[in-house]
Point group: C2
Chain length 458, copies 2
Amino acid sequence: MNNTSKHTPSDSDLQSEAPDEKVVYVDCRDEVAHISADEFAHPADAAEHIQNLTLEKQVCMMQHLTAEDAAEALAEMEERAQTDILQNLDPDVAARILGEMSPDDAADVLSDLDAAHRDRLLEFVEAEDAEEIRTLLSFDEDTAGGIMNTEIIILNHRLTADQAILHIRREMEDKEIPYYAYIVDGKQRLVGVLSLRDLLLCRPGSILLNEVSDQSLISVLFDVDREEVAHTLARYDFMALPVVDYEGHLLGVVTYDDIIDIIHDEASEDMLGMVGAGQDESVDTPWLESVKVRLPWLLVNMLNSTVSACVVFMFEGSIASMAILAVLMPIVANQAGNTGQQALAVMIRQLAVERFDRKKSWVAVLREAKIGLLSGLIVGVLVLVAVTLFTHNFKLGQVMSVALAMDMLLGALAGASIPLILKELGRDPAQASSIFLTTLTDGAGFFIFLGLATFFLF
Amino acid sequence: MNNTSKHTPSDSDLQSEAPDEKVVYVDCRDEVAHISADEFAHPADAAEHIQNLTLEKQVCMMQHLTAEDAAEALAEMEERAQTDILQNLDPDVAARILGEMSPDDAADVLSDLDAAHRDRLLEFVEAEDAEEIRTLLSFDEDTAGGIMNTEIIILNHRLTADQAILHIRREMEDKEIPYYAYIVDGKQRLVGVLSLRDLLLCRPGSILLNEVSDQSLISVLFDVDREEVAHTLARYDFMALPVVDYEGHLLGVVTYDDIIDIIHDEASEDMLGMVGAGQDESVDTPWLESVKVRLPWLLVNMLNSTVSACVVFMFEGSIASMAILAVLMPIVANQAGNTGQQALAVMIRQLAVERFDRKKSWVAVLREAKIGLLSGLIVGVLVLVAVTLFTHNFKLGQVMSVALAMDMLLGALAGASIPLILKELGRDPAQASSIFLTTLTDGAGFFIFLGLATFFLF
């Protein structure tokens, strides 16, 4: 199992005690013993345990665990913890751990280090592994190339089924679980995919090329956005999706477990982006960093509120002589804002799971308009009654209910359209959409309500 | 391939022409030819194509396709389409299609039919299949039992590795791809899991029991919430997770492809629930149905706005003599609302991917408080300058900036706490949280601002 780590306690103790080390001497023997004794059901559990320790202990553990255990745990940790540990670990220890990882995990772990530190670490990694990691790092993190795994079973199309099975049994010892075997032609171009199950069901002597000749092959280009890769894999319920270059050469595969993480990430990005929080924020993000990301959007919101305030300012005279207007106007804005946010949420989620054409977009906007109009009419009638009873002013009730219905319709239209417009502009459909929406429903709500009131009541 | 469908074109034509059929005569030969000619790379594509046809054509196609093709396509369709088709299909045709499906797919498809119709269809299904489908239907849809798959490879712990492989090759012909084989004792209790890869790497004569004796087995109980099942599977990157009863008997497995759908659903539920839209709404939901779900929350929002309006009403006198207060007060409320929503979004997403203990909850609330306080102070200073310059009223500037900072802090605290409180109460942490938040930030914002203004400026 542990074939590269020739790491003895004594030489690590030496390292930890060396006076110019960043890491002070800490004792992590108990923790190492826990992990080595297989107390954790899965590396993910070990990773969580290690992440809750101090950085000094984390580094100490990485030095004292076998390279394989350390690699498994490190791969399961959160990005921030991975980066912190690698920055504080001796390059040779780090390299030994990286050498035990699959190239795509190693590339993931390294992707957040600065380039200089990364290159220094890669010098300690075996040349062939380092080369593969460098190639993986060269792909955009948000594309199929950036998330793919390169440890795959590749079979020449001229092999027979039994040759293929023999080959797989040989390769399997040191590769991740192969879900599928990929069949390539003489020029390494992908021509087919066979599951292990398919292969075991083939007649032993049959040539692979014949087995895959009538396949409709589903693959993705290396530069396709990872969100789209997730859509494709989820749509077809595949365990893995082959990634090819423009000439059809097989580069790697994206597997279902990466996709699960991406779907989680994308959902978070949408919800956080909508309100102008950092798209990869979590409760573990340092709070000052969160302030830095969120403050600009709060200031945008501030500017937008100021626009709405200017609208109110235009009608300062009406409010001075009829202060009840100031009492009622937030209700109009608030109600339209909520209506719009319902439409917004439905559209953003739909865009997250489905591609829209122009016709579907129109149908969806029209649908929200109908919902907004009917809700607006119902709420409008209720408000007409309530305001008239409360203020004994039927005209004010009319103005309020008409303004409410109009602003709710507008909110629904805006909520449905903003994500589509942002998408059309090549932006993230969720980004700050809630802030834009509120600006519109507030500004328009105040203008319609105060405008109608000024016109009809004075 | 197509071993149960003895369906010839002539007898179906007869059915379609029968005068008392619900389905009018439609010609779907072209569409059937497309699908039979394998023009679609995957049943998901065929399903999408069929879903876009009229219901009459959909039903016609289900009758004319082979039962296997029809089953594959039906399983991939959306719930609404599945139910519509089944309600309009002859029971014997429907039963033939259901017979071709895996029991968990069949149970899914049947779950939205009313019980009477469901029972009538199941009478036409083979007794053994029907029994299995009924068992699956008896589990709560939102639990592990409700999403599990029962077509699994089960091996007795006394078998040797080579006996096991032989057994698998025999079973594989008519089961879904087996990711893992499950090892049970004489009483059908789960004792271990081996991947195909593990099995192929075993020494041929070794007893399975010995191979799995030191495993730390990870399984879920049948009544565990599906969201928690998704967490567990995603955490450990498993392809499938065994489901057991309280005595440890193996009931089935939940596979990664079901989990991907659940993660999508849960993310939608959170985002839609937050603003009081229907948790399973999509742009395809009939609009009147959406009005029915959303209107109650809009009315709750209305009531909440009225509370805020009452706060403003308390200060009607101040506003009448100083209308600029009405201009500035929405800015305070809006800004605090946005601050709170950022905190809210971060917390809801985090709760979606992670379990919180009390300590972590406090740390997270404290973090948001710090973010809210600092953002509030920065925005407060900017507002102090802007309001003073604009109104030439330093005191008003002070009141506005203090109110803003206080309300933003409150918004951050509320945004972080509301999901935790809802969760503590056993509710969905997202449900209507945005509405509750806005009520609080509006009401408090108006009260603090108008209160301070009345106290200090008059």
